[in-house]
């Protein structure tokens, strides 16, 4: 397989990201402001709770969990649904469909540069700050490796969800509503807004059966708990993998059927 063609797309995306420096600065600034909100809200919550440990989470672990969830969200949310819509609207999709690469792969590798850029410029600094500020709460060891593997699987699942939503938009020609629905559902059910540990049991049981938790909850749980039994680790990663494969198969099939729907306005 010739991987060069994929990485040239990654490179182009990375260069594009670096072009928008002000956007990057505003994003970092906005993140910091958002993190202060999370910090103070949860500090007040834990102060009112009266105990240090709630459902196995301390204030520190909750903070790390939410901060990193936000950081992960920022580097994963790339508004791919809008890109697909734009391609359909201005007809660029006609060219992209005849490229010697599947459209889905083309999109993925085009945004992969932004993944790398956002990872290095927003996720990594956040992670390092968290690591130093909370001295010792995150243990450095094999858990980092599991975390990275889980993040990569999470990126795939997230991309598959985006691509499925983008495919739905071929039919509806309407993005905003569907995309915001997706965003609020994914953020809530993946634990990015409130750690899954705080969910009531019944609610939690339902969420466990959905793919969303593999995007945020699985990597963060693997990172924060270094005393997990190997079976638990492998079952979490295995479930994430199965979801990634299942969703990939589904999105391929769905796209194949739907792409016939594409009509580009002539001109």
């Amino acid at each position: 397989m010739n991987v060069k063609k994929y990485f040239s797309l990654t490179r182009a995306g990375l260069i594009e990201t670096l072009q928008f420096r002000i956007a990057l600065i505003v994003m970092v600034f906005g993140n910091l402001l958002y993190l202060t909100l999370i910090y103070f809200v949860w500090k007040a919550i834990f102060a009112s709770a009266g105990t240090d440990v709630v459902n196995g989470m301390t204030f520190e672990t909750t903070m790390i969990y939410l901060v990193l969830a936000t950081a992960l969200f920022n580097f994963m949310e790339l508004y791919i649904v809008w890109d697909i819509h734009r391609d359909v609207q201005n007809g660029a999709i006609a060219i992209k469909l005849i490229k010697p690469m599947r459209y889905k792969d083309y999109m993925f590798w085009s945004v992969s540069g932004a993944f790398v850029g956002n990872f290095v410029f927003t996720f990594l600094p956040t992670f390092l700050v968290v690591l130093f500020v909370t001295k010792g709460t995150i243990s450095i060891g094999i858990n980092l490796l599991y975390f990275m593997i889980a993040v990569i699987i999470g990126v795939f699942i997230n991309y598959e969800i985006d691509f499925i939503i983008g495919t739905i938009c071929l039919f509806t020609q309407s993005i905003w509503g569907i995309n915001i629905m997706k965003q609020s559902i994914v953020l809530l059910l993946s634990g990015a807004t409130i750690p899954l540990a705080f969910f009531p049991e019944k609610f939690r049981a339902v969420v466990e059966w959905l793919p969303f938790k593999s995007i945020y909850d699985t990597p963060l749980t693997l990172l924060l708990n270094d005393d997990l039994a190997p079976e638990v680790i492998w079952s979490k990663l295995g479930i994430a993998c199965l979801w990634a494969i299942a969703m990939s198969l589904f999105s391929n099939l769905f796209w194949k059927i739907s792409v016939r729907q594409v009509t580009v306005n002539g001109g």
């Binding site: 906005g30 402001l33 009112s48 509806t172 509503g177």
Partner: protein
């Protein structure tokens, strides 16, 4: 010289313009329905998150469930006018970038008014009903007497509080006259609305100052809602919040107009 037009003229013309917008919007019925559903889904997700938090933690910083709910409802209503009336701010960047903005400059009516009147975001009304429902429900659970005077106070403070969000979005949108790709600034200012639903007392001194005077999100819900929630002990800033809201909106309007006046097309 430009002739000053009266308020009546503007009200009349406003309804004419938005009638066109709503008509054209209604011809894309699926889009309208999906957008409304999206709006409802976001609000439901917000409520579920709120409820999840309170099943584990019964109070936050001395604020009980229903007080927090009241604050939440207040912030929802206070951001609705911005959502409904000033939604075209999101298109400003594109208009400036492509040069289409020039068409607004050739009308003998107020430029800001004309630009914003072009879009009325119907789906924001769903949020309004959510917000009103929440305020009504939490008020009925709180032991605050319901009087005519209290209702008048609530309405006045809700309307003036809505100017804060309007001011922040208008100022953020206007940055596009100076910087390219101002989407992130507008997006950031939209995200600040999430801060409005928490009491400012949770922050330490520095951030209390920042969220009161630099990014005045505390005036979206916290300060104005004190007038209803704590009628015996209303801080001075709460009474001042209507003036602050209107003042800030005026400043943001001036900033927007200043940007527009230096606009000279995209050169094509």
């Amino acid at each position: 010289m430009e002739r000053k037009r009266g308020l009546r003229f503007y009200v009349k013309i406003y309804f004419k313009i938005i009638a066109q917008d709503i008509k054209s919007r209604m011809s894309y019925r699926a889009d309208f329905i999906l957008s409304t559903l999206g709006m409802i889904a976001t609000n439901i997700a917000g409520f579920v998150a709120f409820w999840l938090m309170f099943t584990k933690f019964p109070s936050i910083n001395g604020w009980g469930y229903y007080e927090m709910l009241f604050l939440y409802g207040f912030s929802l209503v206070a951001i609705t006018p911005t959502q409904c009336l000033l939604d075209n701010n999101w298109q400003l960047r594109q208009n400036v970038y492509t040069g289409d903005f020039i068409k607004y400059c050739f009308r003998p009516i107020n430029l800001f008014f004309y630009f914003e009147s072009e879009v009325f975001d119907l789906k924001g009304l769903g949020q309004l009903f959510f917000g009103i429902g929440t305020i009504w429900y939490s008020w009925s659970k709180l032991s605050i007497p319901f009087t005519f005077f209290a209702l008048v106070k609530l309405i006045v403070f809700l309307i003036t509080a809505s100017f804060i969000m309007a001011a922040m979005q208008t100022a953020a949108a206007a940055t596009c006259f100076w910087i390219m790709n101002s989407f992130y600034i507008l997006d950031l200012s939209l995200k600040l609305k999430d801060y409005a639903k928490y009491p400012i007392t949770i922050y330490n001194g520095l951030f209390k100052f920042i969220f009161t005077f630099i990014f005045p999100v505390a005036f979206i819900a916290y300060y104005p809602s004190q007038v209803i929630l704590k009628p015996d002990n209303v801080p001075l800033l709460s009474w001042l919040s209507p003036l602050i809201g209107i003042g800030l909106f005026y400043l943001s309007y001036k900033f927007w107009m200043k940007g527009a006046s230096k606009y000279d097309g995209s050169g094509s």
